[in-house]
């Protein structure tokens, strides 16, 4: 990757104990990566602590064709992680593809969502280009499923302690000609949960979402019918009340009916990606989401390993 354009790095004045806010203003994706690399390496050399939450990567221009590139052979979209899930979803729709997560999509940039919502990484991202907090560019292996060894994509950009920032991602997507959306109401959360589990058991649907007592299923149809209805377009249904403010996720077993019922009764969205055998509850309040941990660039990798070890060693009673 080459940085061919001029970068502007601005840094606001730190006030009190608040760390400096770093804005990396770049025009194209490759520059964004190089800008980030330079910024992080500079911080490492100067031993300046950085908070992951203090880094801002402005979204690319809406007309930048390189920010969403379809790989039709493999059902993947190579996307700029500075885009929000909402922007990616709309761009995919324009190109004739579904994002296997129904609307309303989060307005949070994908790179930040990857830190706080592990389900997004686990179900949607096949591979990624990341910048480690030490300033190294990392391409995770391109492979169906995770293949060899521990999955570092998960370890690098998800909790408990992100050690890298996602800058590009290959998202799993589905042609709109191959799937249609069906919304059904089941009368009770329990019935909706049973239907949700039946869909995930069959492993054929692209996506299933439950909210309240209703279910939205995106799956193949016998004639490959194209249905252009979005779930939130029906303002009279429960989907009209769904919040797009997703700030985290809690993964669950795709057959965990009691957990699904509990989430639905609490007003949460439950999402399943049956063809990937994944499911989770989307969280929309900051209180229950784990914020990204402090990134200390001087000892990041060691700290991350220690944080992982500490999380693994916690007494099991405290696990939910």
């Amino acid at each position: 990757m080459s940085a061919t354009k001029t970068m502007t790095i601005t840094k606001s004045t730190a006030t009190g104990s608040k760390p400096a806010r770093t804005v990396i203003d770049v025009a194209v994706a490759d520059d964004a990566i190089m800008g980030l690399v330079e910024r992080l390496r500079l911080a490492r050399v100067k031993k300046t602590p950085l908070l992951a939450s203090s880094i801002v990567l402005p979204a690319p221009p809406p007309d930048d064709v390189r920010s969403v590139v379809i790989d039709a052979d493999n059902g993947l979209a190579d996307v700029d992680a500075r885009l929000s899930l909402a922007a990616i979803g709309h761009r995919l729709k324009q190109q004739g593809y579904w994002l296997p997560m129904l609307r309303p999509w989060s307005a949070m940039p994908l790179w930040r969502l990857a830190m706080t919502a592990p389900l997004v990484v686990d179900a949607l991202i096949q591979r990624g280009t990341l910048v480690s907090v030490d300033g190294d560019v990392i391409d995770t292996p391109r492979a169906p499923r995770h293949a060899a060894g521990p999955s570092l994509l998960h370890g690098l950009c998800a909790r408990p302690s992100p050690t890298a920032l996602l800058v590009r991602a290959h998202l799993r997507v589905v042609p709109r000609t191959h799937a249609r959306l069906v919304v059904t109401d089941h009368g009770s959360a329990d019935a909706a949960a049973r239907a949700f589990v039946a869909v995930t058991d069959a492993a054929r649907a692209v996506c299933v979402e439950a909210f309240g007592t209703s279910l939205a299923v995106l799956a193949d149809d016998h004639g490959a019918v194209h249905n252009d209805v979005d779930v939130d377009s029906d303002r009279g249904s429960a989907w009209g009340r769904v919040s797009s403010r997703v700030v985290g996720s809690r993964s669950i077993g795709p057959g965990d009916r009691p957990a699904i019922v509990k989430a639905l009764c609490a007003g949460q969205r439950v999402i399943g990606v049956p063809f990937m055998q994944r499911a989770g509850v989307l969280l929309s309040t900051t209180a229950s989401a784990a914020a990204p941990s402090l990134v200390d660039v001087s000892t990041a990798t060691t700290l991350a390993a220690s944080a992982i070890a500490a999380a693994l060693s916690r007494p099991q009673e405290s696990a939910s």
Binding site: T163, A219, Q277, A309
Partner: protein, 531 residues
């Protein structure tokens, strides 16, 4: 010595130590054939619970002993290769099924339970794990999780990492560790960092797995394609169509030719009772009537060409021929087989009556010729037999090994061609394409070669090593992953691609969880030279 360690069943008996001295890595067979000495571990332990595993690890730290975990020993990548000062921890006595939660569709088991025992337990209660490696009768569930195993029905049920919801283990500090997908602190990320860790980060002692209800019916069919590329395109399109086939296996022209001809079929489409995911129903395990291996198939075809039947003499001829792979490949190029695809879907009878014909029509639309139920049903009957006997090739100075790799769809055909070309003067190469996903599939190569005795440049050992070196180099050059479901072990470390940041994190994690570097040093390229 710690008090608890004294109570852990153990042995220093050379016979006991010999039983766990290595796995089924074929190079070890060649070494035995050459009468090279076996390295035996100092001790083998058989812990019965997590406390005993932890006690052995702590004592190993005190004595600076390397620890090598052992399941059923069916690995083929030197994941089990203890040094002379090592201890082996055989986990087979951790074999309990701890909990079946039908409501949450989960089963919690200890690591040492054999695969078929778990599947039989689940089948009797109307469930399946959906995980059917060919070694299901001789591999443990812990081994599956440690190596990112895939079953033959992975296109429908996923790989073992897709089924693993929680992992418990003992790390190199002797501490208990636990990660679960629904744990806010660890989440799926840390589950996925333990899955596939091959005993380098912890000894996995227990896991919670997702289960699904048993399908009641199956639809299986065999078809052939004019070209390999058409077959691969059809596979990709089937996956993209949302059909979710349980089995989708495409055999290359040589593999299809060696398996023998199947006539074009006009038999009616049938839906059979019994899902594919039932371990014993087809008697697919070890039996008297084995599926011919690559070597047997070669012998049979040579006999057909020679119009006589003297099996022992023919085997010797084929063994000699494999020592001259250039000539063997030139002869085999004359076999003109058509790539054969086995496809199977599961569901209830009504569902399959609708979906089966649609699926077949779709394949015909891509150039397929219907071969009827025969190829699929035959595969079903024999699908677990390959893991139970050593190839006869070893008895005549030759060798056979397999290599499973994975890549995106666009790279499958080029990689297949490149590996065959790279090995043309080293081995006879067959391949089938299976474990299909939306974004690619696995290429499962079978290599067969030969060579002289001893250690010289023309020896079987040298040819074997050269074959692997060329294969891994080619796979790596094409950007594919060197392991799909056998694990990396020690034999594939050279082909592993670690980005700098990746490796730093993995090494830091190794140092943190295993500060004395005693856990299975060498696998995944971690902890070498530490003990």
């Amino acid at each position: 010595m710690l008090d608890l360690v004294r109570s852990v069943p153990s042995s220093k008996d050379p016979i006991d130590c010999r039983m766990v001295a290595h796995d089924l890595w074929p190079r070890r067979f060649l070494e035995r054939r050459e009468e090279m000495p076996v390295t035996l571990p100092t001790m083998v332990y058989w812990p019965r619970n997590d406390d005993e595993v932890a006690a052995v690890v702590l004592q190993a730290r005190v004595e600076r002993r390397a620890i090598v975990p052992f399941g059923a020993g069916s690995g083929v990548c030197a994941g089990v290769s203890p040094g002379a000062m090592s201890w082996v921890v055989d986990l087979k006595r951790l074999d309990r099924i701890l909990e079946l939660d039908a409501d949450r569709r989960t089963v919690t088991v200890e690591a040492g339970i054999l695969g078929d025992r778990l599947e039989e337990f689940l089948n009797n209660r109307g469930f399946t794990l959906g995980h059917f490696p060919s070694s299901i009768y001789c591999s443990t569930v812990g081994g599956w999780v440690a190596t990112r195993s895939a079953g033959q029905l992975s296109s429908r049920y996923g790989k073992i990492e897709d089924m693993t919801l929680a992992v418990w283990g003992i790390d190199g500090r002797g501490e208990r560790i636990h990660a679960a997908v629904d744990d806010m602190a660890t989440g799926p990320g840390l589950v996925q960092m333990l899955v596939g860790s091959e005993g380098a980060l912890c000894l996995i002692t227990r896991m919670k797995l997702r289960i699904v209800p048993l399908a009641t019916h199956r639809f299986v069919r065999g078809v052939s394609f004019p070209t390999l590329q058409q077959g691969l395109t059809a596979m990709r399109n089937v996956m993209a169509s949302g059909q979710s086939p349980s089995v989708l296996r495409l055999y290359d022209p040589l593999d299809s030719a060696l398996a023998g001809n199947h006539p074009t079929s006009s038999e009616p489409l049938r839906v059979h009772a019994g899902g594919l995911a039932q371990a014993r129903v087809e008697d697919s395990g070890p039996g008297e009537h084995d599926e011919p291996t690559l070597f047997d198939s070669l012998v049979r075809r040579v006999e057909e060409l020679a119009i006589f039947s003297r099996p022992r003499a023919t085997r010797a001829v084929v063994g000699e021929l494999l020592g001259r792979p250039g000539i063997a490949n030139s002869l085999l190029d004359r076999f003109d087989g058509k790539p054969r695809l086995v496809v199977g879907i599961e569901g209830d009878a009504d569902d399959l009556t609708r979906r089966g014909p649609r699926l077949l029509d779709m394949l015909k639309g891509q150039g397929a010729t219907d071969l009827g139920d025969g190829p699929g049903e035959k595969w079903l009957r024999h699908r677990h037999r390959v893991s139970y006997r050593m190839s006869r090739a070893f008895a005549v100075g030759a060798w056979v090994d397999t290599c499973e790799v994975a890549c995106g769809w666009e790279e499958v055909a080029p990689l297949y061609t490149a590996v065959r070309e790279a090995l043309r003067d080293t081995a006879v190469v067959l391949c089938h394409f299976s474990h299909a996903y939306h974004d690619g599939c696995s290429l499962y190569f079978t290599f067969a070669g030969g060579g002289t005795a001893g250690n010289g440049p023309r020896s079987a050992l040298s040819r074997y090593d050269l074959c692997w070196e060329r294969a891994l180099t080619t796979v790596r050059r094409h950007g594919a992953v060197v392991a799909h479901h056998h694990g990396v072990g020690r034999s594939k470390v050279k082909g592993l691609r670690h980005a700098a940041g990746n490796k730093a994190l993995l090494q830091a994690l190794k140092r943190t969880l295993d500060p004395d570097m005693i856990l299975n040093p060498g696998v995944l390229g971690l902890g070498l030279g530490a003990t």
